[in-house]
């Protein structure tokens, strides 16, 4: 059984208190030495398909009704990635966490609530939800991020008391890297890479790489400015990737309603766009694309999802596609000398 050994207070970073569990449930034991016959087991027999439990030998009966065991009452916390935008977390605190808190904090315990805390380690933010001592949770998160989940005690204006914490999960990108190899043999311009993506069947990414061009910094500035144009306000989009912003604008221009973007863009961007929902429209997005990227609305027709439907039982991933009439090599990169930033 685990027991509380000590309470540590860490004030160097984010102020919190941590329980350190001392698990004494594992004890050494003598290996079993009773030698028995032999590795080749004796033939026991087969059952009639219609055999009832009562008709089975005890060993067969034991195996006929498999039961999941009661999981040991130990502290556990595991964070798993499902997709770049979704994480699964399960946890258990083992023993009554409030007893432990009470022993540690005494009178202060009453103001605390048991919570789950998801830390976005890359963007330095967190979300908190009240929970039970055991359970599971699904999180909607951002791609290209780093996350850790914790269970602990929260009280306003008091240090967070951490009881258990999970492994760290890194969510992958959902689009091509912006980094180019420095070695001459592998160096590739945006235009060349857009063609590479196009011939690989990733036409939507090709389109985005082509319009972003080779100057990532300039492309990012232009994209953030374009988005501010879209919502008609200088809006802070730090923490949202330029690829995500362009993707959202292209989808809007292609005729998608805001609601349908919910699972296609990051939660942060979706939340931001919801705030400006009344200002968003297909026409407005198309006008921004025309002005900023010289893309006519008729060049973007629809997003085609080929889907995962295949023969047999498998379900294989095929890339998303944005149909365009214009081939990516003809696209003018937004970072080209003629590209304009927001004034």
């Amino acid at each position: 059984m685990s027991r509380l050994r000590k309470l540590e207070v860490n004030k160097t970073e984010d102020e919190f208190i941590e329980f350190v569990l001392d698990d004494d449930s594992v004890s050494s034991a003598e290996p079993i030495r009773a030698d028995v016959e032999p590795a080749v087991p004796a033939f026991i027999g087969t059952l009639e398909p219609s055999a009832t439990l009562d008709e089975m030998p005890p060993v067969f009966r034991e195996l006929a009704l498999p039961k999941l065991p009661q999981l040991a009452h130990t502290a556990r916390a595991r964070l798993l990635m499902q997709t770049p935008n979704r994480l699964f977390f399960y946890w258990s605190l083992g023993s009554n966490p409030f007893q432990r808190l009470n022993r540690a904090l005494g009178a202060h315990t009453a103001s605390y609530t048991l919570v789950l805390r998801l830390l976005d380690l890359k963007r330095d933010s967190e979300e908190i939800h009240p929970v039970e001592a055991e359970g599971s949770w699904w999180f909607h998160v951002d791609a290209d991020g780093e996350y850790r989940a914790e269970i602990g005690f929260y009280a306003p204006n008091l240090p967070f008391v951490r009881a258990v914490y999970s492994n760290t999960v890194q969510t992958p990108r959902k689009n091509p890297s912006t980094r180019v190899a420095t070695e001459a043999d592998w160096n590739v311009t945006s235009d060349e890479f857009a063609r590479v993506l196009e011939v690989a069947g990733f036409s939507e990414d090709a389109f985005d790489v082509a319009i972003a061009g080779d100057d990532a910094e300039s492309a990012e500035t232009t994209t953030r400015d374009a988005f501010s144009d879209l919502v008609d306000e200088d809006v802070d989009t730090d923490g949202i990737s330029p690829e995500d912003l362009r993707h959202a604008m292209l989808l809007l221009a292609a005729g998608h309603a805001l609601e349908s973007l919910r699972w296609k863009i990051s939660p942060a961007l979706y939340e931001l766009m919801q705030k400006y929902a009344e200002r968003l429209s297909t026409e407005r997005a198309a006008a921004i694309l025309r002005e900023r990227y010289d893309i006519e609305s008729e060049e973007i027709t629809e997003e085609e999802e080929l889907g995962a439907t295949v023969y047999g039982l498998s379900s294989i991933n095929f890339p998303r596609r944005l149909r365009t009439r214009r081939k990516s090599p003809k696209l003018r990169p937004i970072s080209s000398p003629t590209g304009s930033g927001r004034n």
């Binding site: 258990s92 993506l197 295949v310």
Partner: protein
């Protein structure tokens, strides 16, 4: 130098299904159907192509559970009975269709001839040893056989480094047992990758793995040749990724070849069409209808209902398979020219991975397609050269260094199929068993004793603690099979898959209690060993912590 290279990679895998506790078992038919429709035809075709000088240079993963089942005497005996029973039915059908249903006479004859040939191949040519037949093809320089996870465990969802390592090292040991050499490559189960997996592979001596398209396309830095050249991870392990265009042409249910009107309709089977009394001698003892593998209709049209399907005409289907193979090669030549131009003259590599069971089981004419494809590739053109990933690495072409991203080949490209609201309940149990396994090895394992027993006491009694630890390792590995979570998500055989997962966790728990209490139920231990007899060579010490 050819315009481009083409690498066909087949993934032959079925979960370990073996039920000696019953005289027959419905889910064992998965293996039997695949032997008849996929493995026997493919081996036969590969051998014939080799003898005709058109070597089908390609890679195939014969997964460890599949190797173990194909080598299992009980399953071999049961398959023989299954095949003889099916042949008996097919011959009865030749007589019945001659008098009652002449429109099906050709197809009935086809099945009877094919099954007679299969029985001959099985008993006489391959002596019931298909792993041996695959091994011979590799030894002759025809195939490059690669390995897989020991039980097709989904590596990114396995919680401990020891349990991940066990999936790789047990697979490599099993490959050595069956194929007598070290595997060069691995098919990562479900092509599921996350950064760090390559370290396990390198430790096990594996040179390359197969991944999905975006593993490389979204990798860092940008891949100069996209998915049409391998990359090398920072630790030196090579990665070959899936080409989307060839996947769609063969596999898509919307535009793929298998949807041709003249090909055999999978879902119309005499097991459901003919009178139950007529079929009863060929059904399982429960007398329930099931797919028997004799299917008399063609697809006819995408929107044609099952009752409106036209009779299957083998000659027309064969002709279409040849036509599709020609088309596929023509498209590969065009693709190679476009890619080579895009790549400033560098010859591209198109990697085409598929489930082996697509060819023959789901797409009945698939083996014929492969046969025509390699014949035409060899005799009719010189633009495309068939290579294995190992051949490509040996070619000396420079390869870009890159860090691939986490990915899988499943729906939506990540881990959703194996982790979702339907199957997430499995992971706390799986992870708990993974944690406990390493703890039990640390507490009860005795490497010195084990080594001593292996080298000097062969034939003597084996310490029961070692038997239990080895069986714990088998139960954990079997619980980790990605097949269970996959089938629960897909809604196919949900009850069986849930039960299998629960059974292995339950057995793991029973064995743990024996080990911890010292009270060994020999009868129960023997029965568990008898049922889950995969990996006779297993060594539990693979779960020992290296930290």
């Amino acid at each position: 130098m050819p315009t481009g290279y083409f690498s066909l990679i087949l993934h032959a895998h079925l979960p370990f299904v073996r039920h000696p506790e019953y005289p027959e078992f419905l889910e064992e038919d998965w293996l039997f159907e695949a032997i008849t429709e996929v493995y026997l035809p493919l081996i036969f075709i590969f051998q014939n192509l080799y003898e005709a000088g058109a070597v089908p240079r390609m890679a195939i993963n014969v997964s460890p559970p599949l190797c173990e089942m194909l080598s299992d005497e009980l399953l071999q005996t049961r398959y023989t009975r299954h095949l003889e029973n099916l042949l008996e039915l097919a011959e009865k059908e030749v007589r019945r269709t001659a008098s009652e249903s002449m429109e099906f006479q050709d197809v009935a004859n086809m099945y009877a001839e094919n099954l007679r040939a299969s029985l001959g191949l099985w008993n006489d040519r391959y002596k019931r040893n298909l792993v041996g037949a695959f091994r011979e093809l590799q030894d002759e320089g025809v195939l490059e056989i690669i390995t897989c996870g020991a039980t097709h465990g989904f590596l990114p969802l396995i919680s401990t480094p020891e349990a991940r390592r066990a999936q790789i090292e047990v697979a490599v040991a099993n490959y050595r047992k069956h194929f007598g050499r070290q595997p060069r490559g691995i098919w990562l189960p479900e092509c599921a990758y996350e950064p760090g997996v390559e370290e396990l592979l390198k430790s096990a001596g594996i040179e390359y793995f197969i991944a999905d398209t975006h593993a490389i396309l979204y990798g860092d830095p940008r891949p100069r040749y996209g998915v049409h050249a391998p990359v090398i991870c920072p630790n030196g392990t090579a990665v070959f990724a899936r080409d989307v265009e060839t996947s769609e042409q063969v596999w898509s249910s919307v535009i793929g070849y298998p949807g041709s009107d003249v090909y055999r309709e999978f879902y119309r089977d005499i097991g459901w069409d003919l009178p139950i009394d007529y079929l009863r001698p060929h059904l399982h003892a429960d007398g329930n209808r099931r797919h028997l593998g004799l299917k008399y209709h063609r697809i006819t049209g995408r929107d044609v209902p099952q009752h409106g399907k036209a009779p299957y005409v083998p000659a027309l289907a064969r002709e279409k398979a040849a036509e599709n193979a020609s088309h596929f090669i023509g498209e590969r030549i065009k693709q190679a020219h476009v890619l080579r131009e895009t790549f400033d003259g560098r010859p591209p590599l198109v990697v085409s991975p598929y489930d082996a069971e697509l060819f023959g089981h789901w797409w009945y004419e698939g083996p014929q397609f492969i046969d025509y494809f390699f014949r035409k590739l060899h005799f009719d053109q010189s633009d495309i050269a068939a290579v294995t990933p190992g051949d490509f690495l040996d070619s000396g072409l420079p390869i870009q260094r890159q860090q691939p991203i986490a990915s899988s080949w499943g729906e939506a490209g990540f881990y959703k199929v194996w982790l979702n609201e339907k199957n997430s309940w499995m992971y706390p149990y799986q992870h708990d068993a993974e944690r406990r396994m390493s703890e039990l090895v640390a507490r009860f394992g005795d490497t010195e004793t084990r080594r001593h027993a292996d080298t000097e006491n062969v034939g003597d009694t084996i310490p029961v603690s070692r038997r239990i630890l080895n069986q714990l390792a088998r139960e954990l590995l079997l619980a980790e099979s990605s097949d269970w979570a996959f089938q629960i998500y897909q809604g196919t055989t949900v009850e069986y898959s849930s039960r299998r997962f629960q059974s292995h966790i339950h057995r793991f728990d029973l064995l743990t209690k024996m080990l911890e209490s010292g009270e060994v139920d020999e009868e129960l231990l023997s029965e568990i060993e008898r049922r889950d007899n995969i990996f006779s060579e297993i060594d539990y010490s693979v779960y020992a912590s290296k930290e």
